[in-house]
Symmetry: C2
Subunit: 219 residues, 2 copies
DNA sequence: CGCACGCCGTACCGTACGTTACGGTTCATC
DNA sequence: GATGAACCGTAACGTACGGTACGGCGTGCG
């Protein structure tokens, strides 16, 4: 008897979390061979237990997505007080972190499953991934952008539009290529330089004249 | 007896093309219920014929991807002679066309199938989609970028890097959101304005000083 | 100790689907 | 009109997998 009954924030016991980690491992390795039998074997538990804990296959997938999302919680980026250097550093940190996430094998596998799901069943896996991925990070970065605007460092009308541009400058074609199986591996150094390039480009577009001096947001 | 035996460029008879269109239709509507029986019923053909023509299910999917790719062939964008206005127009046209493609239900369904495939089997569907999608358009736009550079309108070291930035400015988070089932419908007017915004931003980053006057490529 | 509970391992059931096989029909050719 | 090829519609087969049932085992509790 261990501390198995102590539930963590998600209401999951350690044993249940281990099961979800087994699901993630199978997703990364096998891809589609994510069968209930395989999960049970990998997690050393019985299928009966899987169904008791998670209801059905979809419930297991949902719990897995949420479990992974809870783990990836990255830090906030709205440090104060803000100056130009700190803003640039915060943006670049975020960009590097985001590239790290989307190029991780776990994220790729999870997004593949969610996308495959989105095309058919309506058990909104894709919505959960979006809410915990793209939208969650947007809400975490916007305060930073708005703080930058308040400090006179950035100029934009709509923080959502500005963020989406930053998002595009960071990700470019990386995510779709990885999802489609392109072996475009990103090394750590690549991630850092890509993040800084995206940040420089973003500041060139939305910086309020205190960065490169001549950059402005185009009409 | 019709012109059924006349093969088009792909070596597909009209009847076979009709079958592949049925596959596309099923992909868009049903998503995962893309069963051989459903295809046969939809196309009014027998399963025996499907297997004779396409070998197996994977062969049918591959043929479908290639058939759709052959249909989407967009025009080239390297018009000559090139001046600033024509370059901007060409870039915006390409951007609008690309947004049109990635937001079409056919493209979404096809990419979902290819991504689901990429996670498991190795019958490189994802590679085919990438080669005919992302990489094909890259090769078609690069001549335009290089012509722009030659004309002194653009400044960049590597056309691939410049194109990837343009790609990111155009697509931003649109494709991943659509793939994950977000109901972010793009209206035609949105596409046009988004394409022009992306073009303006790209020219602000890579334009050689003849557009907004003060824009430069950041370090 | 005995009992109940939770869980493991496995066998089992029903169904869906990829694939094959086959009888019947159309149609071009001789 | 006979023949053979191509093809349609459907039945049949084998397998994989989601979901359920059951026997056995360890453990906390009366």
């Amino acid at each position: 008897m261990e501390t198995d009954l102590i539930s963590v924030e998600d209401g999951l016991t350690a044993r249940q979390q281990a099961v979800l980690d087994a699901v993630l491992g199978l997703m990364v390795e096998s891809g589609d061979q994510l069968t209930m039998t395989a999960v049970a074997r990998r997690a050393n538990c019985s299928k009966e237990t899987l169904y008791k804990w998670f209801g059905d296959r979809d419930g297991l997938l949902k719990a897995t997505v949420r479990w992974q999302a809870a783990r990836v919680r990255a830090g906030r980026y709205d440090r104060q007080p803000l100056d130009a250097a700190l803003l640039r550093e915060s943006l670049a940190d975020f960009a590097a972190n985001w590239l790290d996430v989307i190029s991780s094998s776990t994220s790729i596998a999870l997004n593949r499953v969610a996308i495959a799901h989105a095309g058919s069943r309506e058990s909104n896996l894709g919505g959960i991934v979006l809410a915990n991925g793209r939208f969650a990070i947007g809400e975490r970065v916007k305060p930073l952008l708005e703080a930058g605007r308040k400090a006179g460092l950035l100029a934009f009308d709509d923080s959502e539009t500005a963020f989406r541009t930053f998002f595009g400058l960071i990700g470019r074609d990386v995510q779709i290529r990885l999802l489609l199986g392109d072996a475009a591996s990103l090394r750590a150094a690549d991630i850092r330089s890509d993040a800084e390039r995206a940040t420089d480009q973003f500041l060139a577009l939305y910086g309020a004249g205190k960065f490169n001096g001549q950059s402005r947001q185009p009409a």
